[in-house]
Symmetry: C2
Subunit: 289 residues, 2 copies
C-alpha cells in the first residue's frame, strides 16, 4: 500500500499509473506536479489527483513513492529539485524511455546512483499525451522494465515492482545498456522511420493529394508520427549511440531492398518479405498485450 | 444493375466487391473463379458467390461485368484466358495495385488497350486475405482510382464507375503514371519499410526477446508486414521504377536523420518530427475513411 504517491509530470504515463493504482486500491493520496496548471486541474477533475502543486519540492513532501514521468530532457532538473526534500523512506522511480541518460543524470547530480532510485520504463503508451489521455487499464498485461543498479536498495526495488504489478503490468528486469539497445530497435527506430516517411511525403509536391490516397495501412503505419515531437527529440538524443547502431543496420537492410527492387530480383524480395511476415505473425500478432 | 458478375480471384478485394454490390442490390448472379477450391466453396457458404468454376473462360461466359482481382503476376495469363470468351457487352476491370504493369499486359496481349477494359484500383485493404477476409463495407467512403486510357470506351468507364459507387466508394480518375507514383509513396514504400524493419530485427540475436518488448505502437507500425509476401513481391517488381524513386528520396531523409542523431542535433530532429506530426494530423488523422 502506497501512503502518498507523488507524480511529477501528470500525462499519459504518470496519470495512468495513478489511475491504475487507485483501481487496485493500492494508493492513499495522490499529489501531482507539472508545468501546465490547466492540465493539473483537469487531472483533479478526472480523479487522477487529489491535489497538486507546481513546486516539485512541495510535491514530494511526505510521499513514500515518487514517479518521475517527465520528458528525458527534464529529468535532471526535477531530480535536483526533489532530492533534498524526500522523506527518509521515499522511493523514487521514473518512466523514461531511455535508461542510460537517466543514470547519467543521477551520476552527474549525486556522484553515484542513490539507493532510493529505481530506474524503470513501462512499455506502453499511445501517440496521445496529457492527463486526458490517461487510462486505468493502460498497463494491463504490458511489460514494465526495471533496470536496477548495483547501488539500488533491494527493498526499494521490491516496492516499485509491487506497485507496477498492482497496475496490472508484468515486471521484468534487465541491464540499462540492454534496455536501451532493445528499445532503440523496437521503439525509437520505428518512430524515426515513421516521422521520416511522413516528412519525406510532406516535402513532395502536391502533398495534400498524395496523402489523400493513403489507405488504412498508411494510417496505422504512421500513427506514431503523431507523437509528441519534443519528447521524441529528447529520446533520440538521449539514446543516440544505440539508435545509431540500429539505424546503420536498417540502412543496410534498405540498401539490400533497393538493390533487389532495382534488379527486379523477386526471389530476394520474397525471401525478405516472408521472413518478416513469419517473425511478425509469430512474435507480435499472437501476443496478448 | 449488373446482370452477371464474374470475379476472377475471390479474396479480400474480389469478395468484398461482390458483397458490397449485393448489399446495394446492384447485382444479379455472382460467379467466382480461382485456384483454391476450398476458398471458392467457402465464398459460396459466405454468400459471396452463387456458383464457381476453376476455368476462367467458363467464369466469364455471359457476364456483363468481370473483375480481375488476382495478383499482378497472374493478370496477363488471366486476361489471355478470358478475352476470347467475353460476352459482346462485357466490361472488364481489375483491382491491381499497380496500373502500369496491367497496361503493359494489355499491350503485350492485344497490341493496344482494348476498349472494354477499365484499369482500376480500390484504395482499401487489410493485411488479411482470402474470401474469409471479405467485408461488405470494405469500400465505404474509400477512394477507388480508375485510370482510363485513350482507347477506353466511355460507356465501359461509366459502368465501372457506377459499380464502385454502388459499393459505397468515392471514385476518381487519374493517369496510370500518376497513380503509380502516388501509390509508390503512400503504400508500396511503407510496406517495404515495414517488411524491412521486421526482417532487420528478426536477424538480430535474441530476436524473440527483442520482439517481446515491442509495444502497441510497434504492432501498428508493422501490421502491414503481415501482408501476403507474394502479392507484395509482385507489386514491388511491377512498380519498380516509381518505387526506386521514392526509395531514394527516403534514403536521403534517413541519412539526414542519421546525421542529426550522430551530431546530437536536437533542433534538426525537432524540425523534422514537427513537420511530420503536422502533416499527419492535418492530412491523415482527420479524414473520415
Amino acid at each position: 500500500m502506497i501512503r502518498r504517491l507523488a507524480i511529477i509530470g501528470v500525462g499519459l504515463i504518470g496519470g495512468s499509473f495513478a489511475l491504475a493504482l487507485r483501481r487496485a486500491g493500492a494508493v492513499g493520496e495522490v499529489v501531482g506536479c507539472g508545468r501546465g496548471r490547466a492540465n493539473l486541474q483537469r487531472a483533479c477533475e478526472l480523479g487522477i489527483l487529489d491535489r497538486f502543486t507546481q513546486d516539485p519540492a512541495a510535491a514530494v513532501w511526505g510521499a513514500d513513492l515518487v514517479l518521475l514521468a517527465v520528458p528525458l530532457g527534464a529529468m535532471r532538473e526535477n531530480l535536483a529539485a526533489i532530492a533534498p526534500h524526500l522523506a527518509p523512506d521515499a522511493v523514487v522511480t521514473d518512466g523514461g524511455s531511455v535508461k542510460g541518460s537517466v543514470v547519467a543524470d543521477l551520476l552527474a547530480l549525486f556522484g553515484a546512483a542513490p539507493a532510493w532510485f529505481v530506474p524503470g520504463h513501462p512499455i506502453a503508451g499511445t501517440e496521445r499525451s496529457g492527463a486526458d489521455a490517461a487510462l486505468a487499464d493502460l498497463y494491463d498485461g504490458r511489460c514494465v522494465i526495471l533496470t536496477p543498479l548495483a547501488e539500488t536498495d533491494a527493498a526499494a526495488l521490491a516496492r516499485v515492482r509491487e506497485a507496477w504489478s498492482r497496475c496490472g503490468a508484468e515486471v521484468c528486469e534487465m541491464s540499462v545498456a540492454h534496455h536501451d539497445e532493445v528499445l532503440a530497435a523496437t521503439s525509437h527506430l520505428p518512430h524515426l522511420l515513421a516521422f521520416g516517411l511522413v516528412d519525406s511525403l510532406a516535402r513532395m509536391q502536391q502533398e495534400a493529394e498524395i496523402f489523400r490516397y493513403a489507405a488504412g495501412g498508411f494510417r496505422d503505419f504512421t500513427r506514431i508520427a503523431s507523437s509528441n515531437p519534443t519528447m521524441w527529440r529528447d529520446i533520440c538524443i538521449a539514446n543516440r549511440a544505440a539508435l545509431e547502431r540500429v539505424l546503420d543496420r536498417f540502412a543496410d537492410e534498405l540498401a539490400e531492398l533497393r538493390d533487389a527492387v532495382h534488379r527486379g530480383d523477386g526471389e530476394r524480395l520474397l525471401g525478405i518479405f516472408s521472413r518478416a511476415k513469419d517473425a511478425r505473425d509469430r512474435y507480435v500478432e499472437g501476443r496478448s498485450s
